[in-house]
């Protein structure tokens, strides 16, 4: 065995350190190992010395040019080791010991067992001894010496643990077997040694192969020995770190992929709302560049009226642990402010308010529009329903007032409700849009035609005209009254009677276009000379009063000698006329 277990053990606490050229061998070696602090324990495991191993803790004595004495100092300034340096910063000491395990053993026998702290000057471990202890005990590091061709000349416990080869089975063999076959084929070991020789040191991270063929990610460093007889190589297993880094990289890649591909605008921010990252979607949507949007620059894309609540939301978020706001964000392509729902949460499981927050802004503009529209539609529906009930109520009252008997009341009321129902059906079919005048008239006449109207008795003719939906109901009720009267007493009842419903249009193609409709009955024998009913009925009031009041229509109702004549001039839609 190249290294025997020492009677003193050293424990190492390691952390990375910066390089410092020209430091003595021990220091450099420790630095290679990433060791900052060494503790020496005695037999019983008690700490007997601790050294803060840094250059500024070194004390050098001796005149210039002559041999220098160097002490390793404990944190409190106590000397724990003394060595005489024959050359400056030579690593010869290292190579001596690594190459001569027997010499090491011999030296070990001389090792003092006294407490080095209580007697620091006498019997404290020398710097070289310290190094030997460190090398032997550095079980987390594989430390090996190689000759010029890469043949292993020494092998520490750490190397055995990491690579699986015991020292006696690897010493004397080609050290390149710890490289992967691919790297060996690519001459990586040779290149590494050449670089080490040329630069005094070579470092690299690569996959290595253990005795059992398993692989690990090793971070290695190789340094040439000063006498040119070979190299010292130190190797650490960084597989876990590499895996963790890989995991982190994958997770960051996943976040990036997600954050840059979802339709939402993603951002990363301080808990104050100061942004430090915005996704590409944000930049494209708002036109505010990445740099401009940093800090509170992103507020520029928020509607001026919404900025106060947007910023205030961050104060609230720090108490609730969640940012939530609806605000308008300007769309670069057309300058439109679109409603967005913006949410953010602090990163990490601890929900630390002072950590970074990640948030998204989702475009809810169309949804909000639909909700508004739904609200309006519901109100409109309510309005229509209640209005219709009010109309039914008023029809009932008028019918009661003008009917002579209960039978008449029932018939007339039912007839009027049916007419109301028909026009409602018509309105529903066109979604309460404009109604075709001809369709409305034909519908009313057909409904009354069940009584057996002979063909040719009725003529309906006129150019296309569209009634506004607000007029349709009252207009339909008026036609219903005329038709009912004609069927009961007039042209539709009497064999010689004729009914012509003709209309024309007046007014320019623009505002205030009117349809002038003539309801002309002929060949009717009127009950008395004047033809005028004794009592003014519901129909008369509807035509003579309601149409002018409600539709701003001009009407004229006459009971001529051979039948009823009625003229209604009512406003129509200035556009949207249909064929027919």
């Amino acid at each position: 065995m190249p290294f025997d277990r020492p009677s003193h053990r050293a424990q190492l606490a390691a952390s990375r350190r910066h390089e410092d050229a020209g430091r003595p061998a021990v220091q450099e070696c420790l630095d290679q190992l990433g060791i900052r602090r060494a503790i020496v324990l005695n037999h019983s495991g008690q700490q007997s010395a601790a050294a803060e191993l840094s250059p500024d803790r070194e004390e050098r004595t001796g005149g210039a040019g002559g041999p220098k004495r160097r002490h390793l100092l404990t944190p409190n300034g106590m000397r724990v080791g003394t060595s005489v340096l024959r050359h400056d910063c030579s690593s010869e000491g290292v190579s001596d010991r690594l190459r001569s395990p027997s010499g090491l053993q011999a030296k070990r026998r001389q090792q003092v067992t006294d407490d080095p702290v209580s007697r620091p000057e006498r019997g404290a471990p020398s710097s070289d001894e310290m190094l030997r202890l460190l090398v032997e005990s550095a079980t987390d590091f594989a430390i090996m010496a190689l000759d010029r061709q890469g043949v292993v000349t020494s092998w520490n416990v750490g190397a055995e643990r990491l690579l699986g080869y015991a020292a006696d089975e690897i010493v004397g063999r080609d050290g390149d077997i710890v490289f992967t076959p691919e790297d060996r084929a690519a001459m990586a070991p040779q290149k590494e040694r050449e670089e080490g020789r040329a630069r005094g040191r070579a470092e690299d991270e690569r996959w290595h192969v253990r005795k059992d063929s398993s692989r690990f990610w090793g971070s290695g460093s190789i340094m040439p020995l000063a006498d040119g007889s070979g190299f010292v190589k130190i190797l650490r297993d960084l597989t876990k770190r590499r895996n963790a880094e890989e995991q982190l990289r994958k997770s960051e890649e996943l976040f990036r992929l997600l954050a840059t591909n979802i339709p939402q605008l993603v951002f990363r921010t301080r808990g104050t709302g100061e942004r430090n990252w915005g996704s590409p979607q944000w930049i494209v949507f708002t036109g505010v560049t990445f740099e401009q949007s940093l800090g509170f620059g992103w507020l520029d894309a928020v509607h001026p009226d919404d900025r106060n609540v947007t910023v205030a939301g961050w104060t609230q978020a720090r108490t609730t642990g969640e940012y939530y706001i609806e605000h308008r964000i300007r769309q670069a392509k057309d300058g439109e402010y679109r409603w967005h729902q913006t949410r953010a949460k602090p990163l990490g499981l601890a929900q630390d308010m002072d950590s970074d927050w990640v948030g998204t802004s989702t475009d809810v503009h169309d949804m909000r529009g639909l909700q508004e529209r739904q609200k309006v539609l519901l109100a409109e529906l309510q309005h229509r329903t209640r209005n219709l009930l009010a109309v039914v109520q008023s029809i009932a009252r008028q019918t009661i007032r003008t009917s002579g008997s209960t039978d008449q009341l029932a018939t007339e009321f039912e007839g009027r409700l049916r007419a109301l129902s028909r026009v409602q059906g018509l309105l529903a079919r066109v979604d309460h849009g404009a109604i075709d005048l001809r369709e409305l008239i034909e519908l009313e006449l057909t409904a009354h035609g069940d009584g057996g109207v002979e063909p040719g008795k009725v003529t309906i003719d006129g150019p296309p005209a569209m009634l506004p939906p607000s007029s349709a109901q009252t207009f339909a009720l008026a036609i219903h009254e005329l038709a009912t009267n004609a069927l009961k007493y007039g042209a539709l009842r009497q064999p010689a009677g004729r009914l012509d419903i003709l209309w024309g249009l007046e007014g320019a193609n623009g505002s205030k276009r009117r349809a002038v409709l003539d309801w002309r009955e002929s060949g009717v024998q009127m009950p008395d000379g004047s033809g005028r009913p004794a009592r003014k009925g519901y129909g008369s009031e509807l035509i003579e009063r309601a149409l002018p009041y409600q539709l701003n229509a001009k009407t004229c109702l006459e009971f001529g000698p051979d039948g009823v004549r009625c003229r209604i001039a009512t406003e129509i839609e200035s556009h949207g006329a249909v064929d027919g």
Partner: protein
């Protein structure tokens, strides 16, 4: 007298001038008749904002107004504005929900359509 007529015996609006704004003729006539039965002198009815504003401007004596919110394509609120400026109290008669009434007039009494004239009469008599 009609089936749903208000209690005519209680002429709570005797001598009062009441403006009616309602675009549906039959409803307007009904309402006017009911108000007359309560003893009111009916101003109008008016079917449009313009007609109603003209009546408000032209009538020196106005004690109360009953306003339909939705007048075809327009809303009655300009009339409410003028009435408030004159200090004339008004009542909304509407099929609309309360939220559509601007907050400035949210305190005005509201009657759902169809208006129950007896309930209206009761409300008016208690407010007298």
């Amino acid at each position: 007298m009609g089936l749903w007529m208000a209690d005519a015996a209680r002429r709570v609006l005797e001598g009062r001038h009441v403006l009616v704004v309602e675009d549906e003729y039959m409803i307007a006539v009904d309402l006017a008749r009911a108000l007359a039965d309560l003893g009111a002198t009916v101003i109008g009815p008016a079917a449009s904002v313009a007609d109603a504003l003209a009546l408000v401007a032209g009538e020196s004596a106005l004690d109360l107004a009953i306003l339909d919110v939705n007048l075809g394509v327009e809303k009655v609120f300009p009339v409410a504005h003028d009435l408030r400026a004159r200090g004339v109290p008004f009542i909304f008669a509407t099929g609309y929900d309360q939220w559509l009434v601007p907050s400035a007039y949210a305190d005005a009494p509201r009657f759902d359509k169809p208006v129950d004239t007896r309930a209206l009469a009761r409300a008016l008599s208690t407010s007298e």
